[in-house]
């Protein structure tokens, strides 16, 4: 599998969540994802980016176009150095929220992605990787 070096976007305010959505949309169009798949990955990115901002205290989003054989995809890596998530299973459960949302964020992002992984260390930060393949 090949990847490129990727674009890195800083997430430090709610404007940046909008910028992440727009950048993900542009990449998704570039690799030729269908309109529904574009919408799913942009929505998933919005959920995770908001989590990075609100729960992680800000961080970065890295956008990578990836190639596996003749399949192209879009992989997004969200990293923060925030307080981390102690109970990942609970964080992925619908309706569980520590913030102002509906608690659908991470679980919803997982459902909207072909790949989803999360690593978190309390006190150190969180890393979420999502991908959507063409």
């Amino acid at each position: 599998m090949e990847t490129n070096s990727g674009d890195v976007l800083v997430i430090s305010g709610s404007d940046d969540v909008v910028r992440v959505r727009q950048a993900v949309r542009a990449k998704a169009i570039e690799i030729g994802l269908s309109l529904v798949d574009q919408t799913k990955i942009v929505t998933a990115a919005s959920e995770v980016a908001r989590n990075t901002l609100d729960h992680g205290g800000g961080g970065t989003a890295t956008l990578l176009t990836v190639q596996n054989g003749n399949r192209q995809g879009l992989r997004l890596i969200f990293e923060d150095q925030g307080r981390g998530i102690a109970d990942l299973d609970r964080a992925l459960t619908d309706g569980y929220t520590t913030g102002k949302g509906l608690g659908l964020g991470l679980g919803g992002a997982k459902r909207l992605s072909n790949e989803f992984s999360i690593q978190s260390t309390p006190g150190k930060g969180t890393r979420v990787v999502i991908a959507r393949w063409k």
Partner: protein
């Protein structure tokens, strides 16, 4: 700070969301709309989301809140123009917006609001 404009047409309020909203803009719209319903006595609110390319859980919750607040203030909200890809994504996300009245397009949404206004005119005798 930016604001989303709220237009008044008789006893109806019209909102067209044409920008990719950041969270504060969505929250400001909730507050502005509640104030506008109170000052105008509007009984119907039409929200056109046909320009919105995504609805995530935050914007979904905003639409739900707006519908709930409007209902408490005796106004009915109709959300119109949801794109097919947005509807598919919302359901998969786990949000069905069951508290929000929707219509396919502006014409059908206005028909729902006009009917409500008409019913009230008869009841009010004006």
């Amino acid at each position: 700070m930016d604001r989303i404009p709220i237009l008044q047409m008789g006893r109806a309020l019209l909102i067209t969301i044409q920008v990719d909203m950041h969270d504060q803009l969505a929250l400001a719209l909730e507050e502005d709309l509640a104030a506008k319903i109170a000052s105008s006595g509007a009984r119907g609110v039409l929200i056109d989301i046909s320009s919105l390319e995504i609805i995530d859980s935050f914007i979904g919750r905003m639409l739900d809140n707006i519908a709930g607040v409007s209902r408490l203030m005796d106004a009915e909200t109709v959300v119109v123009g949801m794109r097919p890809a947005v509807a598919i994504t919302l359901v998969e996300l786990g949000l069905s917006l069951s508290g929000v009245r929707t219509a396919l397009n502006v014409d059908r949404g206005m028909a729902i609001i006009q009917q409500r206004l008409h019913d009230y005119e008869i009841a009010d005798g004006d």
